[in-house]
């Protein structure tokens, strides 16, 4: 590479040479614009694109094939490369501006605004009713919102670019339009909300959502208000061309200069901050720079120019070239200032000598040995600030050379700067045309730069930069996929094309995490590529993202299936309830039924929901699906909730009927008949007892029991025979009931009625458990002989137990009893029995 001019060749001193400014040419413009003053121009910050539109107030010579057409907005890169052309067919344009992510906002006088991306795709929003009726008189756009003044002098604010509702700001009480005004963007204010500065009469109002404050300035009216990039200072220009700089809280006066002393007259076209400490004023071809101490620099151009304020300088765009004017950064100044003896400069010098193989190199290094670290740092920093790769390299070489003399030096800054410069040089290349400085790059972020490359459809570069800087590439890929799909807009597409494009997209995404196929599919769907959208959705790992799109695509069954696959039942409910709203009931049920086993989980959930929230729906569902047993169970549930006898009986009969319609449920149907019959009987029983004895709700067993305990044995027998209660069970019931009512005679008679089908041990045990040992022991003789001794003991009748032993001549058992005897009395009795056995 040929050595470029020395960096200092474009430096201009100020303040007696203590500060230098440099104006370097970035590009010679590729465009064919003849005279920029014919256009309205807005440029985006951070080396962003320019939007130009022919100024309607200027006279244009028609003819020579030119015809008057609707205005066209042209988007150019900073190097004058055409990005795209937008035709504006809406009402009169009030203003244009750039968002932070380089979308162009255009507002018309009816309050309608569009947000265009660099490809000309737009979203359209409105400021609302008031703006439409009153008209928009003026507006200003900042990176994250806009403020508009309506015909009735109300200030409306839009925050963000998602189409939010316009907020009305506090009332100003203005009676005439402001002389000039400016926005203090939200990121610069204390409140983090946008503030508006309004010049009216001789003073300035500051306005936000809550209040409008008169700042009691008396030097107005002003023709320009400009807010510095850091928001700390305001530049005000009076109509007498006195430039007055104050702190943004109006408390301190920072500078004042009378421009008429500079020999200029008339108001400038633009007042732009150049960094945070100087201002640039532009009159067509004159660029006047005012430093903080009243010194000035002037630059003349051959044709009118436009300035774009940056955080660290100002970009000056003309028909022929694009320049960047900035204060020479301190490190650059230190290294390159003629006659500089700073460590950085010495190191750089040493490097030059080293390359020439001159021993002076060593001498130089030696002389700055203690400050070598600072010297290396300075060279690295100066390299970062340099535009020309030649000087970047030289400076980095110098740094690298110096580093070699250091034992310990953290190389990360060196590596970062080297990497970053590689990326910046690529972005600055004229075909790309993003003249971003290192400071601006640091102020934004690598992701921001990648996003900007992406939005210019420079996917390959964006992808490489992402990979190089190791940042996530999925936004790039997503944009690429959407752009790829949009390319084929309007062309007839075969099924194969869809599959191919899907395959291409999927293969590009392989190995990339975090890519949202759902977003791409939504884009495809919006472009009318439903089939492709469905194909793409198949690859979305997050089911919750698939389902809503499928629903809006009316792919109902697939949406339901995907929701089921996700395992998230709430997602299934979401689909079910949406479909229930949209479809008629018949279609809704059919969708679920025809889905087969795959949709069974959805049918299950529908039942769970309907059982609690919509019984009617459930009834219909079971009916339509011929689910007799389920219908019957549902009716049983209704029966259980009924508090009225008639309702309950009816519900039970209905359940019985449903059961009977299912050939496998004959038993259940019969049971329902029995149940209904039992309820009727219980009703009669209650009536007979004048309602004093509750019967309703008892089981068959309990009914018999109740009959016996209330002395209605006959009725108990009738229930027994009508319900064919088996002997054994009946005997238990009667035993329990008679014990309960202590009807010992009855119990005895019952026991003797016939041989007990359950034996007599249950008699003994039950009576014992209810605390009637005396009654219990009466039944012991009827029990199995082997058990009797134990049973007697259980009844506490030791003598009987002993007697039993004697009867059976079981000496061993008797001895055992004697050992277990609870007291002396028993002991003696048992001893007696034992002795009687012995004597025999």
């Amino acid at each position: 590479m040929a050595p470029s001019d020395h960096p200092t060749s474009n430096w201009e001193p100020m303040q007696d040479g203590t500060v230098f400014y440099r104006k370097q040419e970035l590009y010679s413009m590729q465009w064919k614009v003849q005279d920029l003053s014919d256009y309205k121009v807005v440029g985006a910050r951070y080396g962003g694109p320019l939007a130009i539109v022919r100024d309607e107030h200027k006279v244009v010579a028609l003819g020579g094939g030119q015809r008057y057409t609707k205005p066209q907005i042209q988007l150019y890169s900073s190097s004058g490369g055409l990005i795209s052309t937008l035709s504006w067919d809406q009402g009169k344009m009030v203003c244009m501006g750039w968002t932070l992510d380089e979308r162009l906002v255009v507002l018309n006088e009816e309050g309608l605004y569009r947000v265009y991306d660099l490809q000309g795709e737009y979203e359209q929003f409105s400021l609302g009713q008031e703006a439409q009726e009153e008209g928009v008189m003026d507006a200003q756009i900042h990176e994250t919102g806009l403020v508009a003044i309506t015909g009735s002098l109300n200030f409306l604010e839009i925050r963000g670019w998602e189409g939010g509702k316009a907020q009305t700001m506090a009332s100003t009480g203005l009676s005439s339009p402001p002389n000039c005004w400016a926005i203090m963007p939200p990121e610069l204010t204390v409140s983090r909300h946008a503030e508006v500065l309004i010049s009216t009469e001789s003073t300035i109002f500051t306005l936000d959502n809550l209040e409008c404050v008169d700042q009691r300035v008396s030097r107005g009216p002003f023709t320009f208000i400009a807010v510095s990039p850091n928001g700390k200072a305001l530049a005000l220009l009076t109509k007498d061309n006195i430039l007055w700089v104050v702190s943004s809280d109006f408390q301190g006066e920072l500078a004042e200069s009378d421009l008429s002393l500079e020999g200029v007259s008339g108001p400038p076209k633009q007042v732009v901050w150049c960094g945070n400490d100087s201002l640039v004023l532009i009159w067509d071809i004159l660029v006047l720079m005012m430093g903080p101490y009243g010194d000035s620099l002037r630059y003349y151009y051959v044709s009118p120019v436009h300035g774009v304020g940056e955080i660290d300088g100002v970009r000056i765009v003309g028909a022929e070239k694009c320049d960047f004017l900035q204060r020479v950064p301190p490190s650059t100044y230190a290294v390159f200032r003629p006659g500089s003896t700073s460590p950085g400069a010495t190191l750089f010098d040493a490097m030059t000598h080293f390359e020439k193989k001159s021993p002076k190199a060593d001498e130089n290094i030696r002389s700055i040995r203690p400050e070598l670290v600072a010297a290396v740092d300075a060279c690295i920093d100066a390299a970062a600030q340099e535009w020309e790769p030649y000087w970047q390299k030289k400076l980095l070489n110098a740094a690298s050379f110096g580093r070699a003399f250091l034992d310990l030096y953290d190389p990360s800054e060196f590596v970062t700067v080297g990497q970053t410069l590689k990326v910046l040089n690529a972005a600055r290349y004229y075909e790309i045309g993003i003249p971003i400085t290192y400071t601006q790059y640091q102020h934004t972020s690598p992701e921001h730069l990648v996003a900007r490359l992406t939005s210019r459809n420079l996917h390959l570069l964006a992808l490489r930069v992402s990979a190089y800087l190791q940042i996530k590439a999925d936004p790039v890929l997503k944009h690429w996929a959407c752009a790829k799909i949009a390319q084929t807009k309007g062309v007839t597409i075969s099924e194969k094309d869809d599959e191919d494009i899907c395959k291409t997209i999927v293969s590009k995404f392989r190995g990339q995490y975090g890519v949202s196929y759902a977003d791409i599919a939504r884009r495809a769907w919006q472009l009318g590529r439903t089939r492709l959208a469905t194909l793409l959705l198949e690859h979305e790992p997050r089911t919750e993202d698939q389902v809503p799109l499928l629903l809006s695509m009316k792919e109902d069954r697939l949406a339901l299936k995907k929701a089921i696959d996700s395992g998230d039942t709430d997602m299934v409910y979401h689909v079910l309830l949406s479909l229930k709203r949209r479809l008629n009931l018949g279609d809704f049920f059919r969708l679920i039924e025809d889905g087969g086993p795959a949709l069974v989980p959805a049918a299950n959930l529908l039942q769970v929901y309907a059982r609690q929230q919509n019984r009617e729906l459930l009834r219909d569902f079971y009916f339509q699906d011929d689910r007799r047993t389920d219908s019957a169970v549902l009716k049983l549930q209704e029966a259980s909730e009924a508090t009225d006898m008639v309702d309950r009986t009816a519900a039970i009969r209905a359940a019985g009927k449903s059961f009977s319609e299912d050939k496998d449920r004959a038993f259940e149907a019969r049971m329902m008949d029995e149940y209904a019959k039992l309820l009727l009987l219980q009703q009669t029983l209650e009536k007979d007892a004048d309602g004093r004895v509750p019967f309703i709700g008892l089981s068959v067993n309990e009914t018999i029991y109740k009959c016996i305990t209330t002395g209605q044995s006959k009725k108990a027998d009738r229930v027994r025979s009508d319900w064919k209660v088996p002997d054994k069970r009946f005997w238990y019931i009667k035993l329990h009931a008679l014990t309960e009512s202590r009807d010992w005679e009855g119990l005895d008679a019952f026991a003797k009625q016939k041989r007990s089908p359950i034996g007599y041990e249950p008699f003994v045990n039950h009576l014992l458990s209810k605390g009637f040992p005396n009654q219990a022991k009466n039944f012991v003789p009827r029990c199995d002989a082997k058990q009797r001794v134990d049973l007697y003991v259980k009844c506490g009748d030791w003598r009987a137990a002993g007697a039993e032993c004697k009867e059976r001549n079981d000496k061993a058992r008797l001895d055992q009893l004697r050992r277990m005897a609870p007291n002396n009395l028993v002991q003696r009795e048992l001893d007696q029995i034992a002795s009687s056995m012995n004597t025999r």
Binding site: D570, N701, V725
Partner: protein, 709 residues
């Protein structure tokens, strides 16, 4: 309107505790140093739940009335105290129940699970307020998450706009150091009867949280259709999580402290819960009832002496009856938290077979007495001081001893009833396949005697499962007997049991449990099991080795399944009394073998109905993504078959998840297994603690309304 019966907190002395800061999950990825450590520390999950609650409460400024879902009170009580709620502005608490809500506070906070019935009650209460032009601001916190379904119900009820909705992520609650429960009581019914898989989804999310805390399960092994669904969901969630955050270490790296997740769904093994649990804690649950770790005992067994170190008052679960009514008639009952951390006696007893509990308590009483007697031996001032120092411990031990003696005394007579013993006998015989016809007659006899319905149904279902259905005539007849004896309203329950394949007509349609072959190959019956010094998990049922745990052993402790003699070798001798057992553990126990899936048991496991699966979670997702170079060094080396090779001396934890609930006996069996090998601990996770009766209750429809006319 009933006020929630919550104990008052003690007056707060001094400044309140500083508000908790949101805790990030600390990475617990450090490998456990030795095998004596308790495994992974689950305290972090409790802290997470607590912080979530505090944040949710603080989001509502000022004093507020808290309206609480009664089914959440128990779980919440395990993670927080009333005093904490008070500190965060809760000045009054009510149960969420139908009827008007009268509240003085401006702010009303509802806290409930996202269920339709709660939404309807809340809507009703808000509408009543609106009608009487009472003004409140409502906040609804849904546990564990806000759902679209609830939004819709509130919309349909017309109150959606009046409520601020939020969520409280209450997932696994540590019941003990080694037991985590979601405390979702009805999971078995919802998943297997209703086909509502919500609980599976929540389980998966909760397990994802566990993975976030401790790293990926290197392997997910399991049995059962629902278990498979859960495993699929876990894999899917990992992919979705990686799609959002590809660099998440918790999703890309297998854990170094966990070696596998074993999922068993309840439908795979219904035999185990249907049998009567015979461990101490299991029997308390069967006969007295344990709810959210709380047991209701006579107040006289609990002392309010200062030694009771249970700390701040807790939120007990609401009792089945209103607190006011019958309490005056019966001896006063009190809720007591049964937890090993606060009760050393219980730690020793909980997993013992009940038959040895009496002797154990005796021994303990004797020792305690001797310890007390120690004061007479104290000669010097130092010895006396020593003794006084021990006194606090002795006293709390004394109190615990009194409680457990009291509980045992309460249980003993219950285990001596005829019904209890007959039902045990039937269970044993059915599993052994011995004279099934006689068993059926016994069941019929129990119906005639009007034994409790759940006893009858448990046996009947066990019969149907083990025998493979009931002869049609017999089945119909028994069903009729049941309906006549207990009431026709149980028809629905019987239908539910049959649709769950628990009560089937013979021949039961395939697939059904091949019990004879399982009995043989998985040694479901162990003949001479020692209750004092167990040599096999079968001690928890005095002979029957729970199928679910045998399946887990097929993965984690293969020798124990293979043969009796191998099993005995595995525990080092195994003869002799309890003391010998203690010595046995001091001897060198064998190292746990690495996880190798179902290997060796594939065929027999496959013969059990339900899906069988074994998934390896590899480090880098699909193998398509980039491997983090850093991470590659940390992860365990996985062999070609996904087999995890453990570094020497490294101890890992196997997570066992029971989908649909587990019993205390299953927990006891897993704890026993932890002690048999070095290098493997078990972390037991479950949807809730269940037993046969609670499962059957969950299938029963609501009680019938009384007829009013």
């Amino acid at each position: 309107m009933a006020t929630a019966a919550l104990p008052r907190p003690p007056p707060q002395a001094g400044p309140s505790v500083p508000p908790l800061r949101p805790a990030r999950l600390p990475s617990a990825q450090q490998p456990a140093a030795d095998s004596s450590d308790p495994g992974v520390d689950v305290g972090v999950l409790k802290q997470l739940a607590k912080t979530g609650l505090v944040e949710a409460l603080n989001a509502v400024p000022g004093g507020k009335t808290l309206v609480l879902d009664p089914t959440l009170a128990g779980p919440l009580g395990l993670v927080t105290e009333v005093s904490l709620l008070k500190q965060h502005g809760v000045d009054k608490m009510f149960w969420l129940e139908a009827g008007a809500l009268s509240s003085q506070s401006q702010n009303i906070v509802y806290l409930c699970r996202p269920q339709i019935r709660w939404m309807k009650i809340i809507a009703q209460q808000i509408k009543l307020h609106t009608a009487s032009s009472e003004r409140h601001s409502y906040t609804l916190l849904l546990v564990p998450r806000r759902t679209i379904l609830c939004d819709r119900i509130l919309e349909e009820e017309g109150v959606f706009g009046d409520i601020t909705l939020g969520q409280l992520k209450l997932e696994f609650i540590p019941l003990e150091e080694d037991v985590l429960s979601l405390e979702m009581e009805n999971t078995y019914r919802e998943v297997f009867l209703d086909g509502d898989n919500t609980a599976i989804y929540y389980s998966a999310q909760a397990l994802m949280t566990v993975q976030q805390a401790f790293g990926l399960f290197p392997r997910i092994i399991g049995k059962g259709d629902a278990a498979k669904r859960l495993a699929d969901l876990l894999l899917r969630m990992r992919q979705a999580g990686l799609a959002d955050d590809p660099t998440s270490p918790a999703l890309s790296l297998p854990s170094t402290v966990l070696d596998a997740l074993v999922v068993v769904d309840r439908a795979v093994d219904m035999i185990t819960p249907l049998c009567t649990q015979l461990t101490y804690q299991g029997l308390i649950d069967e006969l007295v009832g344990i709810k959210n770790s709380y047991v209701e005992v006579d107040a006289s067994l609990l002392s309010t002496a200062p030694q009771q170190m249970s700390g701040a008052p807790s939120l007990p679960a609401p009792g089945p009856t209103p607190a006011l009514g019958p309490s005056s008639a019966q001896p006063k009952k009190k809720k007591h938290l049964l937890q090993a951390s606060s009760d050393a006696v219980f730690t020793d007893l909980r997993d013992e077979n009940f038959s040895v509990v009496g002797a154990h308590l005796n021994r303990l009483a004797k020792r305690l007495n001797e310890d007390y007697e120690g004061r007479h031996r104290a000669q010097t001032v130092e010895q006396l001081r020593d003794f006084v120092g021990k006194l606090g411990g002795l006293q709390s031990e004394h109190l615990a001893l009194r409680l457990h003696t009291g509980l045992s005394e309460q249980i003993v007579p219950m285990t001596q009833t005829e019904v209890f013993n007959k039902s045990l006998e039937v269970q044993q015989n059915l599993i052994a396949g011995y004279d099934v016809n006689a068993q059926f007659s016994t069941i019929e006899d129990l119906i005639n005697r009007e034994a409790p319905l759940h006893v009858v149904l448990r046996l009947l279902c066990l019969y149907s499962i083990t025998v493979g259905g009931i002869k049609p005539k017999q089945l119909e007849n028994t069903k009729r007997e049941i309906l006549q004896t207990y009431g026709y309203q149980y028809l629905t329950l019987l239908l539910h049991l049959s649709s769950l394949n628990l009560l089937l007509k013979a021949p039961a349609p395939a697939p059904h449990l091949p019990l004879p072959s399982l009995r043989k190959h998985l040694r479901l019956l162990v003949d001479d099991v020692s209750e004092q010094a167990p040599t096999d998990i079968a001690y928890v049922y005095s002979g029957y080795a729970p199928l679910s745990i045998r399946l887990v052993q097929c993965v984690t402790m293969k020798p124990a399944v293979v043969a009796a003699e191998m099993g005995e070798k595995a525990v080092g001798g195994g003869s002799g009394g309890g003391e010998a057992q203690k010595e046995g553990t001091l001897k060198v126990v064998p190292r746990a073998h690495p996880i190798m899936g179902w290997k060796g048991f594939d065929e027999i496991v496959r013969s059990v109905p339900g899906e069988t699966f074994d998934e390896v979670q590899r480090p880098e997702g699909d193998g398509t993504g980039k491997v983090d170079r850093e991470s590659a060094r940390h992860r365990l080396s996985a062999g070609a078959d996904g087999r995890i090779v453990l570094p020497k001396g490294h101890s890992t934890t196997t997570v066992v998840f029971f989908l649909g609930g587990c019993t205390y006996t299953e927990i006891a069996a897993l704890r026993w297994m932890s002690r048999q090998t070095r290098g493997r601990k078990y972390l037991i996770c479950t949807t809730s603690i269940v037993n046969g009766s609670s499962l059957i209750d969950s299938l029963s429809p609501a009680p019938w309304a009384p007829i009013t006319t």
